[in-house]
């Protein structure tokens, strides 16, 4: 429940930024990329005009943070969808056909599991490619890595359990074809677990993106990780100190966003897994 509330708040934040911007907030001062407030010295602590203060370049932190919400949503959704599709496909094919197919797919998942996805994202984000990695590309690549690795392994164990259950035999005896068995029985029972893993994939993708952009690899756009990176790179020109008010809000927002999805996953597991529902 807490998770749902937080996710709803972040959804609200995405919608509210274009509304505030230009109507309540003066464009020149509050622009998340080029804004500058000439009235005060920067970086400044939280103030009536700037609720989270400003960073060393004089930009409003609240506005930057709200602007970073949208790419995070896009990334989270694309990663979740791709993870679910890849993981369900690999798990269902492996569990249904069994034998050599299953062995081969299992080895592949094992190999994918050895790739540290976030680090890998930094590597492919370096150099000429970085300008072309948008939130969608990032989400898709992360989704493939996570779905073919951990996702497939987790879902496969559930798929095997489903394949061994009596109703599969019943359906087979009743004359159901392969497609009928897979789509009506296997996939139908896999969906809850796929959705559960989607939530966990969002957690991983969001943290991985924060990680990659913190390395400065996606600095062309404004995301939460980028704000932290910029806050650490451009320090207070006078003292050299890190502007804490500029890096704390996006870091906390990132944790909260991921935590909200984790909590939703925990809530969903109670529904999806009858054994856990018992307590």
């Amino acid at each position: 429940m807490v998770g749902l509330v937080i996710v709803a708040l972040f959804g609200l934040a995405t919608l509210i930024h274009p509304l505030l911007f230009g109507r309540v907030w003066a464009t020149g001062i509050y622009d998340p990329l080029t804004g500058f407030d000439p009235r005060i010295a920067h970086p400044s602590p939280p103030h009536r005009w700037h609720w989270f203060g400003t960073d060393s370049l004089g930009r409003d932190v609240l506005s930057m943070m709200l602007a970073g919400t949208r790419p995070t949503w896009v990334l989270a959704m694309s990663a979740a969808i791709v993870t679910a599709i890849v993981a369900t496909a690999v798990a269902a094919v492996g569990a249904f056909f069994g034998g050599l197919t299953d062995r081969l797919l299992g080895r592949f998942s094992d190999a994918f599991l050895l790739i540290p996805a976030p680090i890998f994202m930094v590597v492919i984000g370096s150099g000429e490619f970085s300008a072309r990695i948008g939130p969608v590309t990032f989400g898709v690549v992360y989704g493939i890595l996570a779905g073919a690795g951990a996702g497939a392994i987790v879902l496969r164990s559930h798929a095997l359990k489903i394949m061994a259950s009596p109703f599969m035999d019943a359906a087979r005896v009743a004359g159901g074809g392969s497609w009928h068995l897979v789509s009506r029985h296997l996939l139908a029972h896999l969906y809850p677990f796929a959705v559960l893993f989607m939530m966990l994939s969002v957690v991983g993708a969001v943290v991985a993106e924060g990680f990659a952009s913190w390395f400065g690899q996606t600095a062309t756009r404004l995301t939460w990780g980028t704000i932290v990176y910029l806050g650490v790179t451009f320090r207070n020109p006078a003292t050299g100190a890190i502007a804490w008010n500029a890096i704390a809000p996006p870091a906390v927002a990132l944790s909260l966003f991921a935590a909200a999805f984790y909590l939703m996953a925990v809530g969903l597991r109670r529904i999806a897994d009858p054994r856990a529902r018992a307590d």
């Binding site: 299953d102 062995r103 299992g106 080895r107 592949f108 998942s109 094992d110 190999a111 994918f112 599991l113 050895l114 790739i115 540290p116 996805a117 976030p118 680090i119 890998f120 930094v122 590597v123 492919i124 370096s126 150099g127 000429e128 490619f129 690549v141 951990a150 392994i153 987790v154 496969r156 957690v203 991983g204 943290v207 991985a208 924060g210 990680f211 913190w214 390395f215 939460w224 990780g225 932290v228 650490v232 890190i242 890096i247 704390a248 870091a251 990132l254 944790s255 991921a258 935590a259 984790y262 909590l263 054994r275 856990a276 018992a278 307590d279």
Partner: protein
């Protein structure tokens, strides 16, 4: 004999995965990243000259051939040359001990503390437990870089400005040393791992022979005391103290980052055990509540934690890379980050491959531990995948 067969089998499938992993890594990096090493030298070349350079470097050969050549070099210990003309293998092997020190000690602290908190929260639901759980969720999803900066800022500030420096002048110590830092770290790591193995085997022996369960705290103390003793005997005591002192903050960061996960998994694994029959039986026999919690109900959670750890290793390693980079700890993470910054793709690939091999080694070790803890696992070996 049974264990030997299991190990042989696990290593065999592991090698197959490793080969697949290296191939996937190679293909992904070749396909996803535009340009190749030759494009670094491109400036001022005409197209024909550029193609000549690529031919000369063997970059125009088909992908599988290039993979085999790369694999051959990698297996013979040639991990590419950095842009500064030094062999990458030297750097990588210098960077391994610091990484291992932080990773192993940090993970051990997280395992013990996280396991305790997980058992506590699932055993006694209430306001305090809810708070701890929420904290664990936040730690699990925390932004590693931010955490690293926060810790670094807080502790380095504390140590340096408030004169809590116990070891004395760090620069002076190393200036008159007859050993380098990397040599000391290598010796420290090797002796430490040897001591851990020795104490671990000793514990198993005591358990089998005398039917005693040695306490975990005693084991940890034995490891610490033995390591320190060996280091002093080897004459690297003061240097080791200095290194451990500086490693304290990265270790703390690593422990904090991985602890949340341990708490949550232990909690999930133990959920619902409070009402189980065997727990009631233990209570009725008059076993102390703490022992019922740790030895009866919590015993099964250990296996779940171990198997989950195998899956989340890449995630933990990533956290380690961030911590190393943010705290300038000279480990594999910092080295790889530098290579990424200077576009040293061959070096980056070797580092990624080394990380993969380390992950695989730890996973095999975990599987063997799993097997020793739960003899039923042999049934599962018949399945193609663990």
């Amino acid at each position: 004999m049974r264990i030997a067969r299991f190990v042989a089998r696990r290593v065999g499938t592991g090698l197959l995965s490793l080969l697949l992993f290296l191939f996937i890594l190679f293909v992904l990096i070749e396909v996803l990243i535009p340009g190749d090493v030759a494009s670094l030298l491109r400036l001022g070349l005409t197209n024909d000259e550029f193609q000549d350079v690529r031919d000369g470097l063997g970059l125009t050969r088909p992908l599988p051939v290039r993979f085999l050549i790369w694999l051959g070099n990698f297996l013979s210990g040639d991990y590419a040359t950095t842009s500064f003309g030094r062999r990458a293998s030297r750097h990588i092997f210098d960077a391994l001990p610091p990484t291992v020190i932080v990773f192993v000690i940090g993970l051990a602290i997280a395992y013990v503390l996280g396991g305790y908190l997980g058992r506590f929260t699932s055993w006694r639901p209430g306001r305090l437990s809810q708070g701890i759980t929420m904290g664990a969720v936040l730690a699990y999803t925390a932004f590693p870089a931010f955490l690293a900066y926060l810790l670094n800022f807080f502790f380095l500030d504390l140590f340096h400005t408030r004169r809590l420096n116990w070891v004395g002048n760090h620069g002076l110590l190393w200036a008159h040393a007859d050993v380098t830092e990397s040599v000391v770290m290598l010796r420290m790591t090797l002796t430490f791992l040897a001591v851990v193995g020795f104490v671990g085997l000793g514990a198993v022996h005591v358990r089998k022979r005398h039917r005693l369960r040695p306490s975990r705290l005693l084991g940890a103390l034995a490891v610490a005391a033995l390591s320190v003793g060996v280091w002093w005997a080897m004459g690297i005591g003061r240097f080791a103290a200095d290194i451990l002192f500086r490693a304290a903050v990265p270790i703390l960061g690593m422990a904090l980052l991985s602890m949340g996960e341990f708490v949550l998994i232990t909690q999930t694994a133990m959920a619902g055990t409070t009402g189980e029959d065997y727990v009631l039986t233990a209570h009725a026999k008059g076993v102390k509540p703490r022992l019922v919690r740790d030895d009866h109900a919590g015993r099964n959670a250990v296996l779940v934690v171990l198997s989950r750890l195998a899956v989340s290793l890449p995630y933990l390693l990533t956290g380690l890379v961030v911590i190393e980079t943010a705290m300038s700890w000279p480990g594999l993470g910092s080295f790889m980050f530098d290579a990424v910054q200077t576009q040293d793709l061959p070096v980056v690939m070797s580092s990624l491959a080394i990380i993969g091999i380390m992950t695989l080694a730890v996973r095999i070790a975990l599987d063997i531990a799993h097997m020793i803890l739960d003899p039923r696992i042999e049934v599962m070996v018949e399945e193609p995948m663990l």
